[in-house]
């Protein structure tokens, strides 16, 4: 910006090259262009100034609201504490007239002022505490993306030493750039839009003077006609864009700017939304869309592993495999839901027979219905729990004579877009259970729903089901041990991150990513339940803390959806679980305390005594890639303080910015804790365990060096680069 701004409105030569538009007359445009450029500049500056002020104001209000929040919280705590009988923080408020107190006097050279004196009040000494960089508390790992921009240049002390300088240069080379490098000359879309709008004010004033402006206005008027949807704002004078283009050459030509401006005007339009976004189903603009569209956001954002939307840990979320539904899920509605139920529409006692009926309403759209093979033999809904059979029940009427009346009703009933969408969604789950669908829709009865279904030709779309579980458990168990052993012994001591596999065409063979990375298939994989690579879980009835337990042997925590006998799936609310191999997932950590260490800096201390091998805490932090860890590690090494912890071949846990209290545990060569990387429901997590019995109030140490060697011993991680 400085350049262009510095090149003041001297000659037209400067302005001419960036102007693609051929000037109609050589003299007038250059003059007006100069004028415009001046305006652009001043307006731009004004807007920038405005922005800055606004930002400052924003910061101020944020700060104030923050102060307020703090004050509220303080008051809250104070009132709470005032109720308790507690030891208050001692204040040095001695009664005023203590003898031997020093007086502090302020004297003025000016005779008019009296000198002021007050007794000195010495504050009691407060022992210093070790240095601590701020960090955010966390109880679960948090994945962050690689930072290609260096956010700040690390502070290395007041005088930059020569080797530091070299280090910084090297550091900056590692990144794509430093944050905030190109501040000046930057013109954001927002500013651009405001700039054009501000400038168009000028054009309004000068319209009568400049004949060209009239032409532009005409053109704008034409455009206006084209865009009926748009509100009456016209496209401003071309001159404005020309001037802007000459001021900010890198933003593109006049035409491009113009187009951009038009685009920028779009969003205010409430109807216009990104293509995949469907209108709010509860809102007034709900549209009738397909099931996939309605559920698209939910399906794509939901993390099946964290049970959260847009979770903090898994960047890729698999969409559900609709066709592999648990078969027993679909229950049949055997009884009519009420007197007006569609099941009772025909002759009274015929409702049972409808289940045998196949497309009795063929005329309504039965022509396109695919024939259902199993249908005939399966639909004894009195034994509706029968598994492995088709859920298809085609509750139709036998009498086509009723059709007319139904048709009529169908025509009468109005379906809103939301209801239609909802019906499609529900039909994908409830199929022909129209009573349930109607109840869930809430605004339609089952008759109406049924009729709509008929119209929609959806009655007979029923998923295929596959057979039961093959009885081969015994065999698999034996194979399991061998497999675990194999995985442990395997020559490449590499452990890779687990990613659910999804290859619908073929079973998990050597091309399956799980097999390739030597991970077991988890419940999150899209493969068959009977997949050979699946970990079957344990059937222990004990505590799962010996190698007798296959989960323990494979350095996995018991999966609450696989290990049903050990207690990992019970007592969700209590802290006492019979299975000792599910502590990390349940967060059964010990109460830790923070205090200045006996060794160095801060230390972690334990509140209650623990037994040997008991779980103490998970080492949480940011989950970063190995590359990012290398980049960060370089800075941490310089600071001589690192919270990096190698997790597997793909990821490193960094507790520098986010973490939990265990991050303060110090290193010792003779530690009382050890670290172990455990596979917990598909995620590698770092557990800190007691190496020996630890008494209350003891400081916790683990061996930073051994944690890697140990990991090697347990799961086989090898990392040649020394991280910490």
């Amino acid at each position: 910006m400085e350049e262009t701004a510095a090149a003041d409105p001297t000659p037209g030569i400067d302005a001419a090259p960036p102007t693609p538009r051929p000037p109609p007359s050589p003299f007038a445009p250059s003059r007006s262009l100069l004028e415009w450029r001046r305006r652009v500049k001043s307006e731009y500056m004004r807007l920038r100034q405005l922005k800055r002020l606004k930002k400052a104001e924003e910061v101020k209000t944020l700060f104030m609201s923050n102060r307020q929040k703090i004050e509220q919280q303080t008051n809250l705590l104070n009132t709470e504490w005032s109720k308790l009988r507690i030891q208050s923080i001692p204040l040095s408020t001695f009664s005023g007239s203590m003898p031997g107190k020093k007086m502090c006097t302020v004297e003025f050279g000016f005779p008019g002022f009296k000198s002021q004196a007050i007794t000195m009040r010495p504050l009691s000494t407060v022992a210093g505490i070790p240095f601590m960089y701020s960090w955010s508390p966390l109880q679960h790992n948090f994945m962050v993306e690689d930072e290609t921009f260096l956010h700040n240049i690390p502070y290395m002390g007041d005088e930059v030493l020569e080797q530091d300088e070299a280090f910084l240069e090297e550091l900056i080379d590692n990144y794509d750039g430093v944050h905030g490098d190109r501040e000046g000359g930057f013109i954001s879309d927002e500013i651009f839009k405001e700039l054009v709008e501000a400038l168009s004010q000028y054009s309004d004033h000068e319209e009568e003077e400049e004949e060209e402006a009239v032409v532009a206005a005409e053109a704008a008027g034409k455009k206006e006609d084209e865009r009926v949807m748009r509100r009456s704002s016209k496209i401003p004078n071309d001159k404005i864009f020309t001037a802007i283009a000459s001021m900010f050459p890198y933003k593109g030509t006049t035409e491009e700017l113009k187009e951009k401006y038009k685009d920028l005007l779009e969003p205010p339009d409430p109807v216009k939304l990104p293509p995949l976004c469907t209108p709010n189903l509860d809102g007034p603009f709900a549209k009738s869309v397909q099931r996939e569209q309605s559920l698209h956001s939910f399906h794509t954002l939901f993390c099946r592993r964290c049970f959260k939307y847009d979770c903090f840990l898994h960047p890729f979320h698999a969409t559900p495999n609709v066709y592999k539904r648990k078969s027993k899920e679909i229950r049949m509605e055997t009884d009519p839901c009420g007197v007006d139920c569609f099941l009772l529409q025909g002759p009274k006692n015929l409702w049972i027979r409808i289940c045998y009926g196949h497309r009795g309403l063929g005329d309504d759209g039965g022509s396109s219905v695919p024939p259902e093979g199993k249908e005939g033999d399966s639909d004894h809904e009195t034994t509706s729990s029968s598994e492995g059979n088709s859920r298809c029940q085609t509750p139709t009427k036998l009498r086509s004579g009723d059709d007319d009346g139904e048709q009529q009703a169908c025509c009468v009933v109005q379906w809103s877009g939301a209801e239609e969408s909802l019906f499609r969604v529900l039909h994908g789950t409830y199929f022909n259970n129209f009573c349930s669908i109607a109840r869930l829709i809430g605004t339609k009865n089952c008759k109406e729903v049924y009729e709509f279904a008929v119209k929609e030709v959806l009655i007979h779309r029923v998923p295929l089901e596959d057979g039961g579980i093959s009885p081969q458990k015994k065999k698999r168990k034996h194979r399991l041990w061998a497999k675990i052993q194999l995985k442990k012994d395997s020559s490449s001591n590499q452990v890779y991150n687990y990613q659910p596999c999804d290859h619908p065409d073929h079973p998990c063979d050597s091309s399956c990513p799980c097999v390739m990375t030597q991970n077991f298939c988890e419940k999150f994989c899209q493969c068959e339940h009977e997949c050979q690579n699946r970990f079957p879980g344990c059937r222990c009835k004990t505590q799962c803390n010996t190698k007798q337990c296959p989960c323990y042997l494979a350095v996995r925590e018991c999966d609450p959806d696989l290990c049903m006998t050990c207690g990992a799936a019970d007592h969700w609310d209590s802290k006492v679980v019979s299975c000792k191999n599910c502590s990390i997932q349940r967060g059964l950590k010990k109460h830790l305390l923070l205090a200045p260490s006996d060794v160095a800096g801060w230390g972690t201390f334990i509140k209650e005594p623990v037994q040997k091998n008991e779980f103490i805490s998970e080492y949480c932090g940011e989950l970063i890639s190995q590359d990012e860890a290398d980049r960060r590690g370089r800075i941490y090494d310089k600071y001589m303080s690192s919270f990096l912890f190698n997790l597997n071949n793909d990821f490193v846990v960094d507790a520098t910015r986010k973490g939990n209290k265990i991050r303060f545990a110090n290193h010792s060569v003779n530690p009382n804790c050890y670290a172990k990387v455990v596979m917990v429901n598909g995620d590698h997590r770092i557990g800190i365990f007691a190496k020996r019995a630890i008494l209350q109030g003891e400081e916790l140490f683990f061996d930073y060096r051994y944690s890697q060697a140990d990991a090697l011993k347990y799961v086989g991680i090898e990392r040649e680069v020394d991280v910490t």
């Binding site: 030891q87 955010s136 709010n280 959260k308 229950r331 789950t429 605004t443 959806d561 799936a569 109030g697």
Partner: protein
């Protein structure tokens, strides 16, 4: 050669173990000396460098600690279990101890005092007179090597009215020839009985008829014929374990340096109180070494009785006094009969309890503590005991210290002939004690015991695991912050556990525990004391944790505020997700984060809980269909069953109808029967809107009405009735649900 020489002489060598180097230090085994030939000079020097590198620093540290422990001991070695043989008292009486005995003893003592029946004689056996000017002697028969000693009993009587000062009566008890500078260190001694001995009969301590005797004291007067005049020591006190070593060395040194001055006869005196004016016995059985003073005009000036020793105007450390001045060694015994052994002082344990501290500074030192062996000390004869003690090192139990360094690739062996610790010169007396001491007090090294035909071999290597972390009681280094008594009355403090009695299971002492052992046995060395005696801090604010905040872990929420904000923001940032979806996703995420669900089979519960907790909000914000979408999506992921969907939606419907009902209540204030009406309505058509407007296309206005901006207000107002209704309605709905299912 040179470095080796140096090392053995103990001057600058790191393992030059104390000032007693010459007498007790290592000597190089001949093999090592022989091996060191000239061409290997460089090699040896390098080797020595490595040796120094490894052992210099820890040795210096331990030497410093030794000195510190001598001057200001933190603990006494004799109190350690494995050093119990250094302790002179035993606890055998504790077994039979009864509290009544105390009273009994006190009463008895009182009676004794009244009758004053001290039926025991004071027996003094003089070992020798040590003076640097004298020459060591083997036999005291030689006139040249003995001095004449006169012992007087001084009775200070109570002042009578006419007396100006206290009447003093001197009773001579006898004169003896005492050997001058007998050679003690060599252990070559004359027969036990050959020492001059003196008996003060018990009758002397009887109250005399004319005066009431206030106190008794012994005046020892030594006449040194033709003695050399040396410096005079001041008075001294203090205990020194190694005084003899010092003495000898300093004597040897002084002989060369001190200015000698021939004179005729010199008299040295010393005075010791036997009974003080409270008639408490001050002298117990034991070995004494008394520092003597040269007699001038006034033999003993109480004014000069200080704890410091002044020599040439300079202060001397407490130990030095014994090395400097002339001292008299003797053994004191109380015998009930002149021929019989006795235990006179035992009769008055209470009276003598504080004798050491109460005593106004007498130039005497109780040496019993360090030289008396424990058990048999009282009963056995002093001389035989001495024999035993000195006999122990004379077995020539050779301890070979094998120093391993440079990653255990090199080793150097040095040997000692006694059981003194090479670093702190502590006489451990037993091999077991030595090893235990080394292991516990010098943990910068690793000691491994290897049995050896001549004695023992101890492998010494650097303990790489030593990290300097304090392994002791944390309460010793951190004092409790804050104050116990606030103005508002008693307050809670951090609970601190003080172990009063700790009797860990002790294994029987055996040398095998010092053998090199496999890993994993380190657990045994742990502190037995624990507690929270330190100030803890909040991890978020670094503010001190108050005692009442100890019990709650305040910073361990699964969903800290920032994370909640983050997830909301993250979802808000999506551009292709509509508001309804965003709203329900945010709600669900906060719900899931709060409860921390981990298993698929928790999801049914989770959804129902969600409906229960957030149902009102969902209804109010008009998100029911989005909630249904969420449930269907969960079902698509195989996480919930259709039953759950039905139940959750039924719950939502219930809440909605309640809201509507309340709305209606407000409108039709007067009507009485509405509740029943409404119930029947629900019963009859649960899936239909309770809303009077049947037109489904007008969903929006209906829901706006339902959303009931006043819901919360209403809720508060009629929470009682509302709750009751809820419960009833819940049953109703569930019932109908089950019928339907």
């Amino acid at each position: 050669m040179a470095p080796h020489k140096q090392s053995s002489s103990g001057g600058s060598h790191p393992v030059g173990f104390g000032p007693g180097g010459k007498a007790n230090g290592f000597y190089q085994p001949s093999s090592a000396v022989a091996a060191a030939k000239k061409p290997n000079m460089q090699l040896i020097q390098d080797d020595h460098e490595l040796f120094l590198q490894a052992f210099e620093k820890p040795t210096q540290i331990y030497r410093f600690l030794r000195t510190r422990n001598l001057i200001a001991p933190i603990f006494l070695h004799r109190t350690l279990t494995y050093m119990c043989h250094r302790n002179s008292r035993n606890n055998t009486k504790r077994k039979t101890f009864k509290v009544d005995n105390l009273l009994f003893k006190v009463e008895k003592m009182r009676g004794e005092q009244e009758t004053h029946s001290l039926a025991s004689n004071l027996q003094l056996t003089f070992t020798g007179f040590f003076h640097k000017a004298g020459k060591p002697s083997q036999d005291c028969e030689n006139e040249q090597n003995s001095v004449s000693l006169e012992v007087l009993l001084i009775k200070v009587c109570h002042k009578k009215r006419k007396d100006v000062s206290c009447p003093v009566k001197q009773v001579p008890t006898g004169k003896k020839q005492v050997p001058l500078n007998p050679d003690m260190s060599a252990g070559v001694q004359a027969k036990p009985g050959s020492f001059p001995s003196l008996l003060v009969p018990s009758s002397e301590f009887e109250p005399s008829n004319s005066h009431m005797v206030k106190s008794y004291s012994l005046l020892l007067r030594v006449l040194l014929p033709g003695c050399t005049q040396t410096q005079i020591n001041g008075l001294t006190n203090g205990e020194n374990h190694h005084s003899r070593d010092f003495t000898e060395e300093v004597v040897n040194r002084k002989r060369r340096s001190s200015s000698l001055r021939e004179e005729g006869e010199t008299t040295f005196v010393a005075q010791m109180t036997v009974f003080d004016k409270n008639r408490r016995l001050q002298l117990l059985d034991g070995e004494y070494e008394v520092s003597m003073q040269e007699m001038e005009e006034c033999p003993i000036s109480k004014k000069r009785a200080t704890w410091e020793t002044i020599l040439d105007g300079k202060r001397l450390p407490p130990f030095e006094s014994f090395s400097q001045g002339p001292t008299l060694q003797f053994t004191l015994r109380w015998t009930s009969d002149s021929s019989d052994r006795s235990t006179a002082p035992v009769a008055k344990p209470l009276a003598t309890r504080n004798s050491e501290t109460n005593q106004d500074t007498r130039p005497c030192t109780l040496r019993s503590t360090q030289t008396l062996a424990l058990k048999e000390s009282v009963n056995t004869d002093m001389q035989t005991r001495r024999e035993q003690i000195s006999a122990e090192p004379r077995q020539k139990l050779r301890i070979l210290y094998q120093f391993q360094y440079n990653n255990n690739t090199r080793q150097q062996t040095e040997a000692r002939d006694d059981l003194h610790c090479p670093w702190c010169t502590l006489n451990c007396r037993k091999l077991y004690s030595l090893l235990k001491h080394l292991k516990l007090s010098h943990s910068r090294f690793i000691f491994n015991y290897v049995p050896h035909p001549k004695g023992a071999k101890i492998e010494v290597s650097i303990n790489e695991c030593y990290d300097g972390s304090y392994a002791g009681n944390p309460q010793d280094i951190h004092s409790q912050p804050g104050f116990a008594f606030s103005r508002n009355g008693p307050v809670k403090r951090t609970a601190v556990t003080h172990v009063l009695v700790c009797r860990p299971k002790r294994t029987k002492p055996s040398l095998s525990e010092f053998l090199e052992l496999e890993d994993g046995e380190r657990e045994l060395q742990r502190t037995y004391i624990s507690g929270h005696n330190r100030l803890y801090f909040h991890s978020d604010s670094c503010l001190p944790l108050r005692p009442q905040e100890m019990e709650v872990d305040s910073e361990d929420e699964r969903d800290p505020d920032w994370l909640k904000e983050k997830t909301v923001k993250q979802i808000e940032d999506f551009t292709d997700v509509n508001e309804g979806e965003k709203e329900i996703m945010k709600l669900w995420n906060l719900h899931a984060m709060k409860h921390g669900f981990i298993a698929d089979n928790q999801m049914n519960e989770a959804c129902l809980l969600f409906a229960q907790n957030h149902g009102a909000y969902i209804v109010k914000q008009n998100l029911c269909r989005n909630f249904l979408l969420h449930l269907i999506s969960m079902h698509d992921f195989n996480l919930v069953s259709t039953l759950t969907i039905d139940q959750a939606m039924a719950q939502l419907r219930l809440i909605r109808s309640q809201a509507t009902q309340r709305e209606r209540d407000r409108q039709e204030d007067e009507e009485e029967e509405e509740e029943e009406d409404w119930e029947t309505a629900v019963e009859s058509q649960p899936e239909l809107d309770p809303d009077p407007d049947p037109d489904p296309s007008e969903y929006k206005p209906y829901s706006e009405e339902t959303s009931a901006g006043c819901l919360e207000k209403e809720n508060q107002e009629e929470s009682g009735r509302g709750a009751a209704t809820t419960e009833r309605m819940l049953n109703k709905q569930k019932l109908s649900g089950s019928v339907l299912n």
